[in-house]
């Protein structure tokens, strides 16, 4: 359970996802409490009032740079109008992967903070600031990171479970059931999805636990087929629901056999 307005959070990310590949600007939340900065259709970071210091803390945690050096570089970047994170990477004080991790973590924390209440969003275009594509991320990445912030242990378990069933041509998503809002929230994936596709899939899959509830049983797994011929393997572990589709029949049979052996 959480006090996050997941509907608002997804709406904001869907809005970013609908932008064009060249769009740059800010999706601000009503009340000017913060917003999502977008560079060429991808998120470069999220800011929320009261969490500015948190990024510095994360950068210090993820690197060997001391507070004095960080402050000095911060002041220099501010006067030159350059980007702090990328400057730290360029000067060898931070590994690129550490910057990525810090930016994504901070952005997820800010987005969750911005979505504690339902808020309207306003889009304003402005010129890009030159963020390297490497240090920007997809809206769906931020969605998974935000849910993982609220359910950190479940994310770890979900990734372990997904790795046990991963393989070529297999696409899986793990969802946590938020009992309060009775919705499935995307937690981890082994496919290249989007906010729109995972949110639609989450709504589709809700019918399966509801149907199982009518039978008074918790199935070991469910194999469901759609009118377009796709088969979805669905199973539960604690409060996490996993859904996997396979590109070929042999892979589906192998995955089903794996589940049958445990059923």
């Amino acid at each position: 359970m959480s006090d996050v307005e997941w509907g608002s959070l997804m709406d904001a990310l869907l809005r970013v996802e609908s932008l064009g590949p060249d769009d740059c600007g800010l999706l601000s939340f009503a009340g000017s409490s913060g917003g999502i900065f977008v560079e060429r259709g991808r998120i470069c970071w999220v800011a929320a009032r009261g969490l500015q210091q948190r990024l510095s803390d994360l950068l210090r945690t993820h690197s060997s740079v001391d507070s004095m050096t960080l402050d000095r570089i911060y002041q220099r970047c501010r006067s030159e109008g350059t980007l702090l994170g990328q400057t730290l990477v360029a000067e060898g004080l931070l590994q690129p992967v550490e910057l990525e991790r810090a930016l994504r973590h901070h952005s997820a924390e800010c987005l969750v903070a911005l979505c504690r209440a339902s808020q309207a969003t306003i889009w304003a275009s402005h010129p890009g600031r030159g963020y390297a594509p490497r240090f920007t991320f997809r809206p769906v990445d931020l969605l998974f990171d935000s849910v993982a912030l609220v359910y950190p242990n479940l994310r770890f378990e979900a990734l372990e479970e997904l790795s046990a069933y991963s393989g070529p041509g297999r696409h899986a998503v793990a969802f946590v059931l938020d009992a309060e809002i009775r919705a499935l929230l995307p937690l981890a994936e082994t496919s290249e999805s989007s906010v729109e596709s995972v949110s639609t899939l989450a709504r589709s899959l809700l019918s399966i636990p509801r149907a199982s509830h009518e039978l008074g049983m918790t199935p070991a797994f469910t194999l469901s087929t759609t009118a377009s011929g796709d088969a979805l393997l669905v199973w539960w572990r604690k409060q996490v629901l996993y859904a996997m589709a396979c590109e070929d029949r042999a892979s589906l049979i192998a995955a089903t056999s794996q589940h049958l052996a445990c059923a």
Binding site: H171, S197, T200, R203, S207, R210, E214, M217, A220, M244
Partner: protein, 134 residues
């Protein structure tokens, strides 16, 4: 030949005779979840969980899969429980029709699925559901 509605239970029994390990079966109308006929231990009322399961799982709105983002619908479900298998099928000829059945756990799921599809095909070919506006 069209079967009289009063004998729907017998029709379901005949169509599902080849389903191995069959415990109970229900033919239902969607989306209402109206039981048309069923077989198994107890009374018709005991088929309600199967019927509600069919209505829930086949009428949950548009669905997608991790492979295709195109909105579609579920047409089949196989629930593998620790004690039984439950099959839910949507009618091919009559999409408002659903066949739901349960079998013992020791039966082969692939055989259960194929024989259940045959049973529904047979029911769709023989039943006259005009009175139900199907």
């Amino acid at each position: 030949m069209n079967a009289p509605l009063l004998h729907l239970g017998a029709c379901v029994a005949g169509a599902c005779a080849a389903v191995a390990g069959l415990q109970e079966a229900a033919l239902a109308l969607l989306p209402e979840g109206l039981l048309l006929g069923g077989i198994g231990e107890g009374r018709d009322f005991d088929r309600e969980p199967l019927v509600r399961c069919a209505a829930r799982s086949l009428c949950g709105g548009g669905v997608t899969s991790t492979l295709s983002p195109r909105l579609t619908t579920f047409v089949e479900h196989l629930f593998v429980g620790h004690e039984q298998l439950v099959v839910i099928l949507r009618g091919v000829r009559y999409p408002r029709l659903a066949l739901a059945l349960s079998c013992t756990k020791d039966t082969n799921p692939a055989f259960v699925m194929s024989s259940s599809r045959n049973a529904l095909r047979s029911l769709e070919a023989t039943l006259d559901l005009a009175a139900w506006e199907v």
